[in-house]
């Protein structure tokens, strides 16, 4: 089914060595994401893992609505869009009828931690053997930078013009910590992709998650603390710096639950 694209190979000009290339599992097309956005990096990492483990033909992705609504134009695996917030529910249906397939969802924080909170918790609580990729950029990117449950206190968004105030809008929701408490969660980790070192670690986490899915022991949940330069109204470099200083103290990186350890 993917024959045409698999045939395509990249070669280096004579006398040079090819050290970096687009994974064959990523469609050769410009992405629509804003400069510096984390979505593109995470897309690539997932597809590297899919390529390296040779699971392209048995992987099914569920894309949400959100900035990554176009993910199926980029990720060269079978994809299905879900209504806003329902990605893990749709993925449940897919995985139940195709237990042998590798199923993953790819969701923003608005999708996963606001409108889809119920689905998220119940999917993990049932221990569905899927991989959940959770992009936390502390904002609704697609709709123009409104406050999300993950928005930091004091953070200015288009719907918190004076910064998020706890008495009115509550606290930032650390849904990954909540998830880690559920017995259905098999592997829970929080990663970032704003530096090369973080990208390397994030890839390892993704490799583990896709491998663990084969164990059929529960849900693998990966949060990626991400930026949103456009929504935060910053340059990509400023956004990465801001992420490091502000997001990471609230959303500390590391594994929250590892098979065999907790």
């Amino acid at each position: 089914m993917f024959e045409d694209r698999k045939m395509e190979t990249m070669t280096a000009p004579a006398g040079m060595e090819l050290v970096y290339r687009r994974p064959s599992t990523l469609v050769d097309t410009p992405m629509h994401y804003c400069p510096g956005c984390s979505h593109g990096v995470v897309h690539r990492l997932i597809m590297e893992v899919v390529e390296e483990t040779g699971i392209q033909e048995k992987t099914i992705g569920v894309a949400p609505v959100g900035c990554s609504v176009f993910a199926y134009n980029y990720l060269d695996v079978d994809m299905q869009e879900a209504p806003h917030g329902r990605a893990t529910a749709v993925a449940t249906g897919i995985k139940r009828v195709h237990p042998d397939k590798i199923v993953f969802t790819y969701q923003g924080d608005g999708d996963l931690a606001a409108i889809g909170t119920g689905e998220t918790i119940h999917t993990v609580n049932r221990g569905e053997s899927i991989v959940v990729v959770f992009i936390n950029n502390a904002i609704y990117g697609m709709t123009g930078g409104q406050m999300a449950p993950t928005t930091l206190l004091g953070m200015v968004t288009s719907t918190t013009p004076f910064g998020r105030e706890q008495p009115v809008m509550g606290y930032p929701l650390k849904i990954t910590e909540l998830i880690a408490h559920l017995p259905g969660a098999y592997f829970v980790t929080r990663q970032a992709v704003h530096t090369t070192a973080h990208v390397r670690k994030a890839k390892k986490a993704l490799q583990a998650a896709f491998e663990y899915q084969g164990h059929n022991k529960g849900t693998c949940f990966l949060e990626f603390v991400s930026n949103c330069p456009s929504g935060w109204k910053m340059t990509p470099l400023e956004a990465n710096d801001w992420l490091e200083k502000n997001m990471l103290p609230m959303y500390p990186l590391g594994d929250l639950k590892v098979p065999g350890r907790n």
């Binding site: 609505v65 806003h84 709709t143 409104q146 918190t160």
Partner: protein
């Protein structure tokens, strides 16, 4: 402009969830309402947004939410709840191309029936439909009046083109309209004979069309609201005669006074053979087309319907007097509103001008007006 209208109408509570093309109203309310004696909240989804509003409205605060197709789908459960519990509520529904996620930045008039027929039982829900920014202001105020007087949800049906096009409006010239408030009782209402047998007392009516004043929440007498079938005290019952009365009352209270709940713009030519009917964004192209066709000698009338529901039947009858054919212009595939009004037009020939994916142009309408009858 809807946000301005709402605030002028005394809206004190707004809750929303981002969705293109309705986010502008949400954002304007977040920016404006707090400094103008109101409260504007972000909800974690549309189901919560409308439920916050119902809670606030039940306590007497004029409330509003705004959404678009996919969010509306999630809200409909609570719209029915608001109808059943007679909770005043204004919902701005800004149409985009559906079904499903559809086209977020693509205009459409495809939600007319989805909005109207969202209740089990097919109860009439008033729908007001502005054609421009100014009418967004005026009709939102009117929507609050209707919601408060009728004690029911009222929809302001806009669309992407109207919501996301920049138009200039002369603020000075805006009417100083205010919306009416629901009649309130400061103390428990005496229901006479009916009272004696009951512990609870939410309201009482004799004739089905009466709109009773509700007892205040937080008084000496227990007041309850339920989305389940209930009697006049708000107590859950299965199918007692009183429950059936309450259900009939939900429709009767509007239909009995339907003639007072009408908003149309008429541009009639007594000699007209053709009547063009339209609403919302399409009516602007239709009005242009009518103007141009008249210049080239066509005898044609124009009726712009602002109150889509309840269907303004009297106005339809007046406008169709002497007319040989009716052309209904709307931006959807199947002629949704046409299918509703056709039954009131008798033997008159009815045609639709329909299209999706782009606005209907005056030229497209003219070719039908000036084509053979």
């Amino acid at each position: 402009m809807m946000a301005e209208g709402a605030i002028q109408a005394g809206c004190a509570f707004f809750a929303g969830y981002p969705i293109t093309p309705a986010t502008g109203i949400f954002k304007a309310m977040i920016d404006e309402l707090p400094s103008r004696k109101g409260l504007a909240l972000s909800a974690p989804d549309e189901i919560s947004a409308i439920a916050y509003c119902i809670g606030a409205s039940m306590r007497g605060f004029k409330s509003m939410t705004a959404t678009s197709g996919p969010g509306w789908a999630l809200m409909t459960e609570s719209v029915q709840y608001a109808l059943m519990t007679e909770t005043p509520l204004v919902i701005a529904l800004v149409q985009r191309l559906g079904p499903s996620t559809g086209g977020a930045t693509q205009g459409s008039q495809g939600d007319v029936l989805l909005a109207e027929y969202c209740t089990s039982g097919g109860y009439t829900i008033p729908i007001l439909c502005p054609t421009n920014a100014r009418e967004c202001f005026e009709l939102t105020i009117l929507a609050f009046t209707w919601a408060e007087i009728l004690r029911m949800p009222v929809i302001v049906l806009s669309d992407k083109e109207i919501a996301m096009t920049t138009e200039s409006v002369d603020y000075e010239s805006l009417p100083q309209m205010t919306s009416q408030d629901r009649p309130k009782n400061s103390a428990f209402v005496e229901f006479g004979e009916y009272d004696k047998e009951r512990k609870n007392g939410t309201y009482y009516f004799h004739a089905l069309h009466e709109i009773p004043i509700f007892s205040p929440v937080g008084g000496s007498r227990k007041v309850t609201a339920t989305g389940s079938a209930h009697d006049k005290a708000g107590t859950l019952q299965k199918n007692s005669p009183e429950t059936i009365d309450v259900l009939a009352h939900l429709e009767e209270k509007l239909l009995w006074r339907a003639d007072d709940f009408v908003a149309v713009k008429q541009d009639l030519d007594p000699a007209a053979e053709t009547l063009v009917i339209s609403y919302g964004i399409s009516s602007r192209a239709a009005q242009d087309a009518v103007r141009q066709s008249r210049k080239s000698g066509a005898k044609v009338s124009m009726l712009t319907i602002q109150s889509l529901f309840p269907v303004p039947r009297k106005k339809l009858r007046q406008a169709t007097e002497g007319v040989k054919r009716v052309i209904v212009v709307e931006e959807n595939l199947r002629g949704l509103y046409r299918s509703v009004i056709e039954r009131y037009l008798g033997p008159i020939q009815v045609r639709g001008v329909n299209k999706i994916g782009a606005m209907i142009t005056p030229a497209e309408i003219r070719s039908v007006i000036e084509g053979a009858v």
